[in-house]
């Protein structure tokens, strides 16, 4: 016999993610899911961002990594509370992992939680983890073809940062093409051009982030 089901495969994950989203909203915490390839500069961006915002806001970081605590150690050095989730080979974080990790954070005291996902442009795009939005880092050394090769992640992101723009004079990256493709996929996206090494473009990014935190604070 044939039984009609019509059930989303990720329904269980999505239900936990929706609960987490409600919880963060209730506590007025702005949470974003930081995505990008391995080596795109997610952790460097995180360091620069935390340094800029730590005085004004109460922050915490959840670090997703396959096996190591290397990124978490970098964040810990800045004096920011950080939780490490090792996925042990898993290519993405899921909502249950975040739910389990949260008991170690004092949610009543936080303004923002940044969740750095596993470095990967494919799988993390598919799994909601309770975030208010996704933010993707694309470094210019990865090539301008990436938005069309990995459309979902660029379609789903509220903001995209082009990182390592200080290297543009030395590499054949067609910035116009990359920006056009990203905007075709996602006309509403906020785009930032930054270099975490040369420390350019970061103020525009952190100002935008402050606006998001303030909006959530006000409820």
């Amino acid at each position: 016999m044939e039984v009609k089901v019509m059930t989303n495969v990720l329904a269980k994950n999505d239900a936990i993610a929706a609960d987490l989203q409600r919880l963060f909203k209730e506590k007025n915490i702005f949470v974003f899911n930081l995505l990008g390839s391995p080596g795109a500069g997610k952790t460097s961006l995180l360091e620069a961002t935390l340094k800029e915002l730590a005085e004004e806001y109460s922050l915490a970081v959840i670090e997703g990594d396959l096996y190591t605590a290397k990124d978490a150690e970098r964040i810990h050095k800045l004096g920011i509370p950080v939780l490490q989730i090792n996925t042990v080979g898993g290519c993405h974080l899921d909502a249950k992992m975040i739910e389990d990790a949260l008991s170690e954070l004092d949610l009543d005291k936080l303004d923002m939680i940044i969740i750095e996902n596993v470095g990967n442009l494919v799988c993390p795009a598919e799994f909601a983890i309770g975030e208010a939005m996704k933010v993707t880092v694309l470094s210019v050394t990865e090539g301008e073809d990436k938005p069309l090769k990995y459309p979902l992640i660029f379609k789903e992101s509220k903001a995209v940062l082009l990182n390592k723009v200080d290297l543009l004079p030395y590499i054949p990256f067609d910035k116009e093409k990359a920006v056009t493709d990203i905007k075709n996929l996602n006309p509403e996206v906020s785009l930032f051009e930054v270099s975490c090494t040369a420390k350019t473009g970061l103020t525009e990014w952190t100002d935008w982030l402050k606006a998001q935190i303030e909006a959530v604070r006000k409820g």
Binding site: E2, V5, V9, K12, N186
Partner: protein, 113 residues
Amino acid sequence: MHEMSIAEGIVDIALDTLKANEGHVIHAIQLKLGVMSGVEPDALQFCFDSVTKNTAAENAVLQIEMIPLCGKCLDCDKEFSVTDYVFKCPHCGSLAISTITGRELQVASIDMD
């Protein structure tokens, strides 16, 4: 390789449905998969075969129906097929587009006894 967790999700749904209907064997599972779901059908088939081992879905066939990417213009209300990932209305040029199909990752039905 998130196809492994996706395959596990599919088999969980199938086994839950089997139990709810007091069946004992799953013959086939029909899945709707959007072209922009982020899931690679070949990888999914491979993972499906390995996660069904020693379950009531052991010899089941995973039938994947690919769903094309379609948008609807929020300004002129026309529906169109999205090509080259350009989310722009071909009729009026609007950028206010809602994705109506192409993101599916849904178990549609299950053949069982």
